[in-house]
Symmetry: C2
Subunit: 270 residues, 2 copies
């Protein structure tokens, strides 16, 4: 890590390699370029992903870890958690003085420990899809650094990307991630079930959007417990049983319906 | 039902009694007044609710069904489904020529059949909480009428309230309702679980709002299946198992996590 970085200068980390070319890297890449960083290379085991992102960023790519550019100042690793621990040792061993960062909610910072000298975590708590732009000004970044300087550097980086930085320990971050899975992925699955049920009965999913929007808006003002409505809130067994019988053809959806209804009732009565 | 109503004149139904004083009635009442209707009475078995809504609408209230004003043109019934079938016979028998409407997603129109002459359903598919205003211009109303005139009257009424009217049969409406329970109530419960997990680890729920908003915004452009991200989409067993072990103290949440993850995987692989 060079001196400029340690002083926390915003422009000190110029050259970046993106390790991984999935949803997170695909959105971080252009934002890094906009913030004045130079993405010097993209690595991905999947050639199509590597070349697509490299094309977007006008930089070379590689599908071989031993061909990763050794001259970058920072390596940002956004790969599947299960790939992370395989990627780290060969990546770090070739350029031990660089700054290494991963973006995974669930992985502790210490995956770098004993290998890299300067490391940290930059977890953007947002849902990224390749087909859709992200406004980074709405993204909270949870950061953690191996030292004070690394932490400061990541806070500055988050700000340069347009987002807000929050410090979070590895322990807090893994709970943030599990909470995010509920609030985002699982909420989205509830939309998917709705779409499926509507399609079966010739109804357009679009009719559901005002309700989805209002449900999200409400929790800006009310807590989710206060905001809850519907048959499970009232524990209206008439409606619940009728709904369960309507879902009888799809026992997994009936099971989901019953379990969530019971859990809503439990949350509201505790 | 008087002649003006049958011709579908917007101003023909002037006097309305609200039967029920819960979340739906509390939002419909002021919107009816704004649209030029006169709410002449509020009925609720719960005196506090009846008097609160009547106070808001500057009209009398009653807690006795046999004291419901017999001179209204329209009776809008917004009560728990289980109460609906008890309320209907005594309500209708005293003013059989009026127009009777319920607002329940799950109840068929035929609950009125053989009792009332003019009847229908006006189902506002939105989540109403007493503590929060609703912009009716974002509310889809699903309407059904005992005849063409009744249907037209309800479409006009929906428009006067500021919303959009869609025709839906009782059968379609009950699937709309079950879909709405998933997209709204169950999605909201996912927010509630997130809030609970964050609170246990000293993290503010507010940090989750950008993610919740983006999750809702995404499905305006992508289908929920396309929009899905996270460990269940990738079926990243490392993360899933780690999350399950983090939820071990709350087996109901672990069960929910596992069931939803499996269901996401099933949706995406089918």
């Amino acid at each position: 890590m060079n001196k400029e970085l340690i002083d926390g200068q915003p422009v000190s980390l110029k050259k970046v390699v993106l390790v991984g070319a999935g949803n997170v890297a695909t959105h971080l890449g252009p934002a890094l370029c906009d913030a004045g960083y130079e993405v010097v290379q993209v690595f991905s085991r999947t050639e199509a992903s590597a070349s697509a992102l490299a094309g977007k960023l006008h930089c070379p790519y590689t599908t071989r870890l031993d061909m990763v550019n050794p001259e970058a100042d920072m390596y940002i690793v956004s790969v599947k958690d299960s790939a992370l621990e395989k990627v780290i040792p060969p990546l770090v061993s070739r350029h031990p003085d660089a700054f290494f960062v991963h973006t995974a909610g669930s992985m502790p910072m210490n995956v770098w420990k004993g290998l890299a000298r300067h490391y940290g975590v930059l977890y953007p708590m947002q849902t990224f899809s390749k087909g859709r732009g992200v406004d980074f000004s709405t993204v909270p970044f949870f950061v953690e650094g191996s030292g004070k300087e690394e932490m400061e550097t990541l806070k500055i980086l988050a700000g340069q990307l347009g987002g807000k930085a929050y410090e979070a320990t590895s322990e807090q971050r893994r709970y943030l991630h599990v909470a995010a899975v509920f609030a985002c992925n699982f909420a989205n699955h509830m939309y998917a079930v709705a779409e499926h049920l509507l399609a079966l009965h010739g109804l357009p999913f679009g009719a559901m959007l005002p309700l989805i929007d209002e449900t999200a808006r409400k929790v800006h003002e009310l807590s989710p417990l206060e905001a809850q409505t519907g048959p499970a809130r009232r524990y209206d067994e008439n409606v619940i049983n009728r709904h369960l019988s309507m879902l009888a053809d799809e026992p997994e959806l009936a099971e989901l319906y019953e379990l969530i209804s019971k859990n809503i009732h439990k949350f509201l009565s505790s």
